[in-house]
Every structure is written in structure tokens, then in C-alpha cells.
């Protein structure tokens, strides 16, 4: 989303005024609470009048989100929020539209709409809460669940290969692709602001813990003991450094990423991979940092931050331009089109 400029009078509302009178009904301890709080914290600072904000969701735990936001909102049907926001953005490009979805909603039943939304690049923000499980239906594996995952529908372990949402979004020609997590409020707030700031479809994958059906799915990325070695925060123009003492770096040997130990004298931060959000090739390589420690050698930390961000024309702008051009070339004369090209008179 791009920033909307309005007078200071209009944008005065507080986080508290974004809270609705509806009781929040997520399970106690759900990661969704944190995401809701960060969204309610960030949105008042964006300079958008509250009445110009719309939250639209599909079906799933995450999709209850609009009920808890005192803005315009719609809780729609499973997988289809992307299609609904597309239609709304076509006709009301001035609105700030936020789509809230989950891994089942956007990557399974709504997979088709998801890729087409990214391709068309409508200027909206897509928050995908990925908990690697179906929560609302009480615990079946999702399209992001790991192979071997034992759930109610996979008692012998899942034999489905999971999606890599970041790689999928890049493959669908997304213009803004980022990842954050529920348990890092500071980073999440920063990513929400970046999503809003991007003109085009901003895809933000948020790792979200389902403490009831998939507790700890992302623990290695959030637990103090492992977080620094298993994650890497990627920032524009900064070298890829991670590790407990910021002592590990990643450099590229051709297209192959290699981890180097910065404690070894020969290795200098100057030789490391410098993150560039505009580089699709590098974003592609980063998106493939998707393995787990147990996968063995060449194991990479999981990146968080903006993988890719470029400008490309938005569908609604092209649409508006065509309509304006048509209007400037031809007069809208209803009588003339009712009449058509050829007529004849009787009597």
C-alpha cells in the first residue's frame, strides 16, 4: 500500500479506537493476538482516515481478524478474499485494503486467487498468517506442514510436500515479498509499515504459533537459545550476518550461498552478500533458505525481512487509465448506443 496523505484532523484515531465491541475468540495464547495488537498499533500511524480502511478475510482462525478491527470489514468465504479485494480495489482504488488470510485459505483452497492477485499487483496488503496447520477445523495438516507431520488426517505422517510461500510469491511475480513472525513485535511492526509503504500487492508471511494444534512449529526461530543461529534478519544494503555473536556471515560463491565464520581472520564482513531488495535472483536464492537443522549439511538460517521489493504498475492504475482515455475520446451517449449503427422507421 502506498501512503495516503490527508489532513492531520482526519487521521486522528488511536489504537484503542480500532478495537471493536466484539469479544476476541482466538484460543488463549494464540499468536493471532500479537499480530492483532501490532496491526492496531501500526495502523493509526499510517495517516489514513479510519473510514478509508478495509480489512477483508477468507475463512480460518486468522480470518476472524476483521471482526476485531473497528474499520470497514468483510469476513468472506474460504480462499476467496483475494478475489474480493481485487474487485473492491478495481472500483475503489483510493481505499487502504488489507487482506488477512492463512496458509490453508491462501495456499490451498485459495491458491489460484493468491497467485493471480500477486501477478496483477493490486495495491493492497496481504497478511498471511502461516501456522502450518488447519486450526479452525481442529488440526489437519496444511499445504505448509512439513513432510512427515502427524495430524488427525495424517496419522502416519504427511506425505505432501509443503509449499514455500516466499518462493511461491516470487514465482507469481509478487512485487513485495516479506516474512516476519508473531513473537517479534518490533520486527513485525516494521514489516507492517513496509507493507503499507509499498505500492502494489505487499505479501507479508507471518509465522504464527498455533499453541493448540501445532505448538512450537517455529520455536527454533523464536526461542532465545536458537533464534540467533537459526534466523537471519535481512536489511537493505547490509551484509548477511547472523549467529549468537553476529559472528557468522553468508557470502555468494557464484549462485551458491556459503556460510563463513567471521571469527576466522581471513573472512571479512566486506566480502559478504549485501542484501539488495531489488535483486530477484538473490531474492530467489534467499527464498530457498528453507531447510531445517536436521536436513544436514549446507543448512541455512531462515531469513526474515523484505526479500524483494520493486515497483511495477498496478492493475487498478491501468484500468483507470483506460477508462479515462476512453472517456476523453468518446462521449457517453446512451441514446446513441441504444440506437446502434442502423435503424429503420415503420409508419
Amino acid at each position: 500500500m502506498s501512503a495516503t496523505t490527508t489532513s492531520a484532523e482526519d487521521k486522528k484515531f488511536t489504537s484503542k479506537e480500532l478495537v471493536t465491541d466484539q469479544e476476541v475468540r482466538w484460543c488463549p495464547g494464540c499468536g493471532d493476538y500479537s499480530i492483532l495488537k501490532q496491526v492496531q498499533t501500526v495502523v493509526p500511524d499510517l495517516g489514513i482516515p479510519r473510514e478509508d480502511i478495509v480489512f477483508i478475510s477468507g475463512i480460518g482462525c486468522s480470518s476472524r481478524f476483521p471482526y476485531y478491527m473497528e474499520t470497514y470489514g468483510m469476513h468472506s468465504i474460504h480462499g476467496r478474499a483475494a478475489a474480493i479485494v481485487s474487485g473492491l480495489k478495481c472500483v475503489r482504488p483510493e481505499l487502504s485494503i488489507w487482506m488477512v488470510s492463512g496458509d490453508g485459505d491462501s495456499l490451498s483452497i485459495g491458491g489460484n486467487h493468491f497467485i493471480h492477485l500477486l501477478r496483477r499487483n493490486f495495491d493492497i496488503n496481504l497478511l498471511l498468517f502461516n501456522n502450518e496447520i488447519y486450526g479452525l477445523t481442529k488440526g489437519q495438516y496444511s499445504p505448509t506442514s512439513l513432510e512427515g507431520k502427524v495430524t488427525k488426517s495424517t496419522p502416519m505422517g504427511s506425505i505432501d510436500h509443503p509449499f514455500n510461500p516466499i518462493a511461491l510469491a516470487l514465482g507469481a511475480n509478487g512485487t513485495f515479498v516479506a516474512r516476519s513472525m508473531d513473537r517479534d513485535p518490533v520486527h513485525l511492526k516494521e514489516m507492517l509499515k513496509r507493507s503499507h509503504g509499498h505500492k502494489g500487492t505487499s505479501f507479508l508471511e507471518i509465522y504464527q504459533n498455533c499453541n493448540v494444534f501445532n505448538d512450537g512449529a517455529f520455536e527454533i526461530f523464536t526461542d532465545k537459545g536458537t533464534k540467533k543461529s537459526e534466523t537471519i534478519i535481512i536489511e537493505q544494503d547490509k551484509p548477511l550476518i547472523f549467529g549468537h555473536n553476529a559472528d557468522k556471515g553468508i557470502k555468494l560463491e557464484g549462485f551458491k550461498p556459503v556460510i563463513v565464520d567471521l571469527n576466522v581472520n581471513d573472512n571479512s564482513a566486506n566480502d559478504l552478500w549485501i542484501h539488495d531488495e531489488k535483486d530477484l535472483t538473490k531474492a530467489g536464492i534467499l527464498s530457498r533458505f528453507f531447510d531445517r537443522p536436521e536436513d544436514g549439511q549446507d543448512h541455512m538460517p531462515r531469513p526474515f525481512g523484505v526479500f524483494y521489493s520493486v515497483d511495477r504498475s498496478c492493475y487498478e492504475d491501468g484500468l483507470k487509465a483506460q477508462i479515462e482515455s476512453a472517456k476523453s475520446q468518446k462521449k457517453a451517449d446512451l441514446d446513441s448506443i441504444l440506437k446502434g449503427r442502423e435503424t429503420w422507421v415503420i409508419g
Binding site: 466484539q22 473510514e51 475463512i59 476467496r80 472500483v91 481505499l95 477508462i323 441514446d335 429503420w344
Partner: protein, 614 residues
């Protein structure tokens, strides 16, 4: 020898040829010329599902039937008087539709051994030379040869030359029926203005065909079909899908809301998308979505945003839209869902017509999900019917299903088009400020309609969704009493529409009597012609055609109870018949045709006659 001039009151011509032979264009040209001369008319194109089915074969035959006359014409006609057969397959596929004694104009080049083989005639059999067509008047012309001869000096290649042969046939028919060439000449000038070679070739062949009639003594008679006694006014010719597109634009202008079409291509509805895409200067947005579901969901988004939102499809696509239509109903947002019905089930007969989606329209959603249903009775009537659909959607904040079908979508007829100023305005139930006592998104007015609060209005921020909602507040509610209340409320709201639609009228006949023929949709013309004929023969029969299928007009029951027998002809196994029996407990009788073809007047007349004898 000058040909004799004979006056005819009506003629049915079937143009048939390979799908590459340009028969649709030939038929359309003859039609428009007839319209300009003031004939009443009705047309029905009949083309294969494949874009280019194997050349010369029966599946590759494309046809165009035109019924024109100096009398009122209600249908494209049953058996044809003239069959133009550009090849053997075209003859084989259509001969059974030609009346005994009818005329065959055969292109002899299309009956060479290869074409005969492709049309699966037995070895050595050629129908145009073996005398098997002696019950018909056979006119054999080597169109290919004549066309080539006319263009020997054009410098064009054989392939290009042969493409003009439909113009030869058209020219010949123009001569036969005393038509001027100027309409088609103007058309060709416009179409090929930038390609002078092609233009000249087509004009030359058209004239060659006309002159061939004049000089060849092929037939002894020429025919005159005088103008028809039509209501005075200015007319144009229109196809159903065109009329639907225009009706939507007119409605958009008259309710002051930009039109949004979210659609996915599907036969036979796609032409509405094509047409609307040309009207961007009217503020029309056409959005070709990634699938049928996305199409209707984009419509839900556009309706939430405050626009006149429409989706167009056919049966299989409507099946995919079912869940979203339920959401639209639950949200109580206005939208129009257009189903140009085709032969089903499943992929069925994409290019053929049927009325078999009535149950789908009435009941095809999960839960209690009533949606108003409106249908069109003829190509031109699509305009008024879709306009009415928009009015009801906007005034009642509800999805509305508009039913057309392949027959009227692609068929055409003269239309005494309205003046923009005569179209009645209507407006949305918009709310623009917080009312006293606070805003309630589901507070209903006297129509049981709710306010349309669109994003951007300060103070009206609210959430809507597919979960059951509490009365007035719209908040999620699982309360058992509330659920039953809301289900009945949504039903009452749709039923309430009956107070705001016209009463059912009779198309023909007395208000009380022996037989009522009750139709819906595109059966109108065939029923009208059959009832007219039956009444002329003294049979006590009346005709009513339903436009509002849900809710029915308030007086429909009263009308039904005034007749001993109710006959319902439908291009399905009896869907309206079931609904009528269910709602009014009358012993309605079905006349059902499921052949992918519209009813003929004869079929309906025969049934009326049979019932009259009982």
C-alpha cells in the same frame, strides 16, 4: 426471359455450410437487409462447439436460420423453405429441417467426391445428381467456379478468391428475393475499406451472384416479401447478448452507479463481456477474472464498494459461483448474476440451448438462500429484463439471477429501442451519515431492505460476513431464535418484492377458459405463434409468459385457477411445472423438449390440439 414476381407473406431460409464458409456473416447480412426493408424477423444461429471442426464433416457444419415476413414473426421458424447447402455435409445435416417442396441451393463444388466422403455418403452416391431430392426444388450452382471466374483478373490467390464465395450466394439470394445490395455494399466498404483488393473482390462477387440470377434463368420465379405491419417507431436489429449488455449500461446510467462486470469466458455468455468491454467511456469496468469463483467474488467486492456489479456466465460457471452467491445473499449486497443457459448437465451442449438451470437458479445454494430470479422472453426483451433485474438488486439490496439462454442470446429480432429519457430511474439505499441513535447495518426499511454503507463514509465502519448475524446489528450470532428469525426474514424480504413488480398479464386469450399455456423465458415466441394459430382454429386457449420467477407475481395463482388445464412447455424435463405444482397445487401438464433446440410452433400447437380434444 424475365422472372415471374410472386408475393410471399413469410420465408424461412437456412444458410448452411462449413464453419469456414462464412454462413453466419451471410445470414446476418441478409437479416439486416430484410430489417431495413421493414420485414419482421427472427433468427437463430446454430454453430458447432469446435472453432474449426474438421472441414467438410457434419460436426463442422455451421448454420444460420432466418425467418422474415410481411406478417408478425415470433420464432426463427420450424421447417425451412430454402436451404443453402455449401457442401454435402451441410445438406445431410439440414435436409430433415427442409419442408417438402422446399428449395435447395447447392454449391456443386461442395459435392465433389472428397466432400461426399467426408459427409459419409456411400461410395458413388451424390444426392444432387442421383434424383433422391426429387421432392424438393434443387438449384445447383457451381459457386466456386463462378466466384473464381468473377475474379480471374483480380490477381488474388485461389485461397483468397474462394473465401468470397459466400458473397456469390448472398448476391443470388438478394436477386431471388428482390433485395437491394446497398446494405451489404456499405458493410463491405466499412469492413474492408483498408484492403481495397479484398473489398473490390467481395463487391464484384456479390454483384456476380446477383447478375447470375438475372441472366441465368436458373429459376423462373422471384419473390417479394413486403414490409410487416409493425408498431410505428424506429427499429434496429438486436441479439439477446447485445441487448443484455445495453440493458446493463442503461441501468448503470439510470441508477447513477458505474458498472462493474467480473466475468470468466464461457459459451454462450462471453459476448456480453466482449460487448461491455467496448463501453469503457460509459465508466464500465470489465474484469476478466482467473475463474468463475473469482469473477463473482470480484463482484462482491465491487458491490461492497458501492457499484452496480454484475457477473455473466452459463450453467457450469454458475455451479462454481454457488457458494459466493450464498455469501452475496447473506451480506445482502446488490449484484446481478447472469446465466445464459446452455444444454447441460456438466459440460453438456455448450453451443445449444436449454432451460434446464431453473432449479439451479431457484435452489442451487447451501442453506436457505432465496434469490430473486428474472428471465427474458426474446432477444430484445433481454434489455428490459436485465434492467428490471438491476432495479430489484439495487432497491432490495439482494443478488438477482437473470436467466437468458443460448437461443435468445444469439438469436436476433427487430427492436423498437427506447429513448434514454423514457427509462425509469432508480437509486441505491445509500447511507451517508450516522443516523440518530447509531448505525445499524441490518436495520430494514419498508421493503425489508438494509442500508448500503460503503467504505469511505466516516462513522459507518462496520463488519459484514457469511456467519449468521444478529437482527439489525449484523454482529455474529449463534442464537437459535435469531437464526430462525433471520432465515425467515431473508425469505420475507425476497417475497416482499412481489409488492413491487407488475401483476402477471395474459399474452393472448381470455382470462378464464379451458387451456392456459404457461411459459417462461425463450419459449415465448413459439407459444405465442402456436396459441395464435389454435385460437384462429377456434380452440379455447390462452397464453401467459412469466418474467418474474421468484417471487412470482401476486396474481399468478388466481390466473392459474381460472383454467381447466395448464400446459407448461419447457426445454427441460419439467422444472417450472414442478414449481407451479408445488406452489399452487394445480395439475399442470408439461410439454418437454431436451434436444438442445428450441420448440417449434408445430410441436406446441399439436399439444394444444391434443388437449383441446380431451
Amino acid at each position: 426471359m424475365a422472372a415471374n414476381q410472386k408475393v410471399l407473406d413469410r420465408v424461412i431460409i437456412k444458410f448452411a455450410g462449413d464453419s469456414g464458409d462464412g454462413m453466419q456473416l451471410t445470414g446476418t447480412q441478409f437479416t439486416n437487409t430484410a430489417a431495413m426493408l421493414g420485414n419482421d424477423l427472427s433468427t437463430f444461429p446454430d454453430f458447432p462447439a469446435e472453432i474449426r471442426a474438421p472441414q467438410g464433416t457434419i460436426p463442422g457444419v455451421s448454420g444460420y436460420q432466418l425467418h422474415f415476413g410481411s406478417v408478425n414473426i415470433f420464432t426463427p421458424g420450424d421447417e425451412c423453405d430454402v436451404l443453402v447447402a455449401m457442401n454435402a455435409a451441410a445438406l445431410k445435416a439440414n435436409l430433415r429441417h427442409l419442408r417438402k417442396g422446399g428449395t435447395i441451393i447447392a454449391n456443386s463444388d461442395g459435392f465433389d467426391p472428397k466432400n461426399l466422403r467426408l459427409a459419409a455418403y456411400a461410395d458413388g452416391i451424390n444426392p444432387i445428381t442421383d434424383g433422391s431430392l426429387e421432392n424438393f426444388r434443387l438449384i445447383t450452382i457451381d459457386v466456386t467456379k463462378m466466384t473464381r471466374a468473377a475474379l480471374t483478373e483480380s490477381g488474388m490467390g485461389i485461397k483468397e478468391i474462394d473465401r468470397a464465395k459466400n458473397m456469390f450466394v448472398l448476391g443470388f439470394l438478394y436477386w431471388m428475393y428482390n433485395r437491394e445490395l446497398n446494405y451489404t455494399e456499405n458493410f463491405l466498404n466499412e469492413k474492408f475499406g483498408k484492403k481495397p483488393d479484398v473489398l473490390e473482390a467481395n463487391l464484384k462477387v456479390l454483384k456476380a451472384g446477383y447478375n447470375f440470377g438475372e441472366t441465368s434463368e436458373t429459376i423462373a420465379d422471384r419473390y417479394i416479401v413486403n414490409p410487416a405491419p409493425m408498431a410505428t417507431g424506429t427499429y434496429r436489429n438486436i441479439m439477446g447478448n447485445q441487448a443484455t449488455a445495453l440493458g446493463l449500461i442503461a441501468a448503470s446510467q439510470k441508477c447513477g452507479l458505474d458498472l462493474f462486470l467480473g466475468s470468466y469466458p464461457i459459451t454462450p455468455a462471453t459476448d456480453i463481456l466482449h460487448d461491455l468491454a467496448k463501453y469503457k467511456h460509459f465508466g464500465v469496468t470489465t474484469y476478466q477474472a482467473e475463474d468463475e469463483i473469482a469473477a463473482i467474488c470480484s463482484v462482491i467486492g465491487a458491490a461492497f464498494g458501492g457499484k452496480l456489479a454484475v457477473t455473466t456466465s452459463s450453467g457450469p460457471g454458475i455451479a462454481l459461483k454457488g457458494e459466493a452467491m450464498g455469501l452475496g445473499m447473506m451480506l445482502e449486497l446488490p449484484m446481478i448474476i447472469i446465466n445464459v443457459q446452455r444444454g447441460g448437465p456438466s459440460t453438456g451442449l455448450p453451443t445449444k440451448t436449454e432451460q434446464s438451470d431453473l432449479f439451479q437458479a431457484m435452489y442451487g445454494r447451501n442453506g436457505e438462500a432465496p434469490i430473486p430470479v428474472i428471465c427474458a422472453t426474446s432477444p430484445a426483451d433481454c434489455f428490459a429484463a436485465v434492467y428490471e433485474s438491476c432495479r430489484i438488486a439495487i432497491e432490495f439490496m439482494t443478488p438477482v439471477i437473470f436467466l437468458s439462454d443460448g437461443y435468445i442470446a444469439n438469436g436476433s429480432e427487430p427492436w423498437r429501442y427506447p429513448q434514454a429519457a423514457d427509462l425509469k430511474e432508480f437509486k441505491g439505499n445509500f447511507i451517508t451519515e450516522v443516523p440518530e441513535g447509531g448505525f445499524l447495518p441490518y436495520k430494514r426499511d419498508e421493503k425489508l431492505s438494509r442500508p448500503w454503507a460503503i467504505p469511505g463514509v466516516k462513522g459507518l465502519e462496520h463488519r459484514i460476513g457469511g456467519l449468521e448475524k444478529a437482527h439489525e446489528t449484523g454482529n455474529i450470532s449463534y442464537d437459535p431464535e435469531n437464526h430462525e428469525f433471520m432465515v425467515r426474514m431473508r425469505e420475507a424480504k425476497v417475497n416482499k418484492i412481489a409488492d413491487y413488480i407488475p401483476l402477471q398479464t395474459l399474452d393472448n386469450g381470455a382470462e378464464k377458459g379451458k387451456i392456459l399455456v404457461l411459459g417462461w423465458g425463450s419459449t415465448h415466441g413459439a407459444i405465442k405463434a402456436a396459441v395464435k394459430e389454435a385460437r384462429e382454429k377456434g380452440i379455447d386457449v390462452s397464453h401467459a409468459q412469466i418474467r418474474h420467477l421468484n417471487p412470482f407475481p401476486k396474481n399468478l395463482g388466481e390466473i392459474l385457477y381460472n383454467f381447466d388445464t395448464i400446459l407448461i412447455p419447457e426445454m427441460n424435463t419439467g422444472q417450472l411445472c414442478s414449481i407451479i405444482r408445488d406452489k399452487f397445487m394445480v395439475p399442470a401438464i408439461g410439454l418437454n423438449k431436451i434436444k438442445g433446440m428450441p420448440f417449434s410452433t408445430t410441436e406446441i400447437f399439436a399439444k394444444i390440439e391434443e388437449l383441446a380434444k380431451k
